[in-house]
């Protein structure tokens, strides 16, 4: 019964989205606040209907109702409850409902954004409604998650065991909140192209309206991608966290475009400049979200993450992508030349630094796009197959981002309109000097000495110290009494703290990524219980291997002791090889020993034999120095985004008198 209710709610949502679009368009054309208000009501009702459908789907999964095809295909009675629920968004159909939920939910929130002029808001609500119509129609007509099976099977096929993991249970909701949150920026951009005027007072306001959505989406994406990377790190058992896999790239492109959008929207808000460019980025960011959905779901890419692959649905997604982005960019091409923003600025200025940031981020984004799509294009063009992997991105993407990172600390210190490069240089001299010393120290401290890794360590330190220097400058630290500093710290807007945190978090990430990539040590060989394998300064002894039974799997569980090579500071870790009888799949459960910032990462492999013929297990050990920072950095960045979001300057309408 709830299943039919869910199916009905989904169809109802499609009808409501259609109604929302129609009423918003009519309301805009007739300038009727009543119709526009009704459209806003429809937006809320639509979100509620999708929420109901999603709840019904979750209920079907929680109750293991195998008469629903989607549940039978993706669940199993033996699964722990968390993964039963998470399986609701573990398949193509279910995740599409989640996508629609975020789309309509953000659409409903958009109607609450205060201060938007009537025309702009109504056009944005109409655009958001139209997006809802397309994706809901896609769900209802091609990917109905509520389809029944007759007869219902006794047992389900279970979720891919690789996906049965806490990080991955929460990865999609965050990722989608980010992906689809960008749809609001898209709608606001379309609305601005329709309503916008070459009036220099319009764009600063628009920049302020679009920024919170961009910030929230970007922060969600940051968390989502980091969870995914963390999952890949400890679940795939390859010792790595980012593989430049096409699907990873698909989620990274909206993030890069979103980061560019955030920065360019600041310029538009503060100075009214770059209006066209910011609009373009807002369209681009959600286009990349849709491109990502297409790439992941259509099966055109081979990837370790590809799921729910179906060429026909891929074609539908491509059609939606072409229609929405095509129309939006056509509108942009037509209208953008008429929309001059104001705001002149000298090349050396806050605006100039942000423009440079945008140039690098856009080029980096284009690099990821090229690297992801080029094999497809080349194969279609002349049948040649190539692989684009980490070495390519190391040579193209990394230098671009390194250059972008170099200018980051200068940005917040430069004045608007016309900056004083010499003054900024003086303020950053200490940070720069220290960063160079740290680079040298890093180069000397690690073995073997690698110039590039030393430079990378210096870059990470530069970002962190630059962020600190900026705070010190704002607080006038060491130049005024401490009490005055504290008073200034309290007076500093949250947005400024957010910027500082996000930039410092980027530095933390760079440090982790550089050191882990440059100095990870790996060792692998078959060892019998009692034997030891060494990786760098660590020694790992296999103590015992036993069989344990999980809720829906059986595992060979190895107990291993990690010590320093001289035997000091022992710690026990368990690593497992899990066998899931339902799908016949085997997964590895990595044993992770946290040592300060480092990880000792242990994988228990297949059973084999030692040279003497005794039973042995293939044990792989990685020493991943500073790996903790790789995941800590993005967490700090996301926190910075959250802080900025809480800045009251961005809370539209708050603290302002309601309109008469």
């Amino acid at each position: 019964m709830t299943v039919e209710l869910g199916a009905f709610a989904l169809i109802l949502a499609l009808a409501l989205a259609t109604l929302q679009t129609g009423m918003a368009v009519a309301g805009r054309l007739r300038r009727s606040p009543v119709l526009a208000g009704a459209a806003e009501g429809a937006a809320w009702a639509c979100a509620a209907a999708v929420a109901l459908a999603f709840a019904a789907l979750i209920q079907a999964f929680a109750a293991s109702d195998f008469s629903v095809a989607n549940v039978a295909a993706n669940s199993h009675t033996d699964k722990p409850m968390l993964y039963k629920v998470a399986a609701a968004w573990g398949s193509h159909e279910g995740s599409l409902v989640l996508w629609c939920l975020v789309l309509t939910g953000f659409g409903a929130l958009l109607t609450r954004a205060r201060g938007l002029p009537f025309g702009l808001k109504t056009s944005a609500v109409a655009t958001q409604g139209l997006l809802g119509v397309m994706f809901l129609a896609f769900a209802v007509f091609t990917s109905n998650p509520f389809e029944r099976l007759d007869p219902a099977p006794f047992q389900g096929n279970s979720l891919n065991p690789l996906l049965q993991d806490p990080a991955l249970a929460f990865h999609p909701p965050f990722l989608y909140a980010g992906y689809v949150g960008l749809s609001v920026c898209f709608s606001l951009a379309v609305a601005a192209l329709i309503e916008g005027r070459a009036n220099s007072s319009f764009w600063p306001a628009w920049g302020r309206w679009v920024r919170p959505w961009a910030l929230a989406s970007w922060a969600f994406l940051t968390v989502g991608i980091t969870l995914g990377a963390f999952w890949a790190y400890y679940e795939l058992g390859w010792g790595g966290w980012w593989f430049w896999d096409p699907v990873e790239n698909a989620s990274f492109m909206p993030w890069l475009a979103g980061a560019a959008l955030l920065h360019s929207a600041v310029v538009t808000e503060r100075r009214g400049a770059l209006a066209g460019w910011t609009t373009f980025l807002a369209l681009l960011a959600f286009t990349f979200s849709m491109l990502g959905a297409f790439l992941v779901r259509s099966g055109v890419l081979t990837s370790v993450h590809a799921f729910a692959v179906d060429p026909e649905r891929g074609l539908m997604l491509l059609a939606i992508l072409g229609a929405t982005s095509g129309a939006a960019f056509a509108l942009f091409a037509w209208r953008a030349p008429q929309l001059k923003g104001g705001g002149m600025f000298a090349p050396v200025s806050r605006e100039g630094a942000l423009v440079l940031n945008n140039v690098f981020l856009t080029a980096a984004c284009a690099t990821v796009l090229l690297g992801t799509l080029y094999p497809l294009i080349l194969e279609a063009a002349n049948g040649a197959t190539i692989s684009v992997g980490p070495p390519y991105f190391a040579l193209t993407f990394v230098p671009l981002m390194a250059a972008a990172c170099l200018i980051v600390p200068a940005g917040p210190l430069l004045a608007w309109k016309r900056g004083d490069l010499k003054g900024v240089g003086q303020r950053l001299a200490l940070a720069a000097g220290l960063a160079i010393l740290i680079a040298l120290a890093g180069w000397m401290a690690f073995d073997p000495r690698k110039a590039l890794s030393g430079a990378g360590i210096g870059l990470g330190a530069w970002l962190i110290l630059g962020a600190l220097a900026e705070v010190a400058e704002r607080l006038r630290l060491f130049r005024v009494p401490l009490a005055e500093c504290l008073r200034r710290a309290r007076g500093l807007p949250l947005g400024a703290w957010g910027t500082t945190l996000a930039h410092a978090g980027l530095g933390v990430f760079v440090l982790g990524a550089v050191v882990e990539t440059g100095y990870r040590v790996e060792a692998a060989r078959p060892i019998a219980p009692g034997q030891t394998i060494e990786a760098g300064k660590w020694a790992v002894r296999l103590d015992s291997v036993g069989v344990v039974e999980g809720p829906n799997y059986l595992a060979e569980q190895g107990k291993l002791t990690v010590t320093l090579r001289d035997g000091g500071s022992p710690k026990t870790v368990t690593a497992e090889r899990r066998f899931f009888p339902t799908g016949g799949q085997t997964t590895t459960e990595v044993g992770l020993d946290f040592r300060g910032l480092d990880d000792v990462y242990v994988v228990l492999g297949e059973r084999g034999q030692t040279a003497e013929g005794a039973p042995a297990w293939n044990v792989r050990v990685w020493w991943n120095p500073w790996a903790r920072l790789i995941f800590l950095g993005p967490a700090i960045m996301a926190l910075g985004g959250l802080l900025s979001l809480l800045d009251r300057r961005l809370r539209l309408g708050v603290n302002r008198k309601p309109a008469a």
Binding site: A205, G342, G352, L378, P615, R656
Partner: protein, 167 residues
């Protein structure tokens, strides 16, 4: 059910050492020479496991990846250079086998595209900023007031210019 599970487990655990049908994967035997082994490891990261999704042979548990690792070690031990090893693999499996795409006719756009985008984006923004700084005028007093009002008065209010903008 539980018995079934246990039977399956017994089969699984018993079967692993001999791997019923498939031949056992070539065991990984590191080269004795540490420098040679390091070269081999570096190559493993750049060689794709051609039967896998997007994995280097360094990471893949597949049998083929183990075979290719053994092959690479064998060739390095025989004194081949890294480039010779790569060329040999490309001859066997095509360009697909390397994660570093070759630089030739069809891929120049791939390799130089990022630079082109950087120059185009930089040049475009630079030009538009320059043009703007020449053409644009500071806000007029009326516009300043308008801006102040939009930012201050954040309430829904009737659209000031009735027609969709055609200015």
């Amino acid at each position: 059910m539980k018995r079934l599970l246990l039977i399956a487990a017994a089969l699984f655990l018993a079967a692993t050492p001999v791997a019923a049908q498939e031949p056992p994967p070539t065991p990984d035997r590191p080269l004795a020479d540490a420098a040679q082994e390091a070269r081999a490891q570096a190559l493993f990261d750049d060689i794709r496991c051609v039967v896998c999704q997007h994995e280097a042979i360094a990471d893949s548990p597949a049998g083929l990846a183990a075979d290719v690792r053994a092959l690479v070690r064998e060739q390095i031990a025989a004194g081949r250079s890294d480039q010779q090893v790569r060329d040999d693999l490309v001859r066997r499996y095509g360009d697909f086998v390397l994660f570093t795409p070759p630089l030739r006719g069809g891929t120049w756009l791939l390799w130089f595209g990022p630079l082109a985008v950087l120059l185009a984006a930089g040049g475009g923004l630079w030009l538009s900023a320059r043009r703007r700084s020449v053409v644009a005028e500071p806000l007029s007093a009326a516009e300043e007031a308008d801006l102040a009002q939009i930012l201050a008065d954040q309430a829904v209010r009737p659209d000031p210019d009735a027609k969709p903008s055609d200015d």
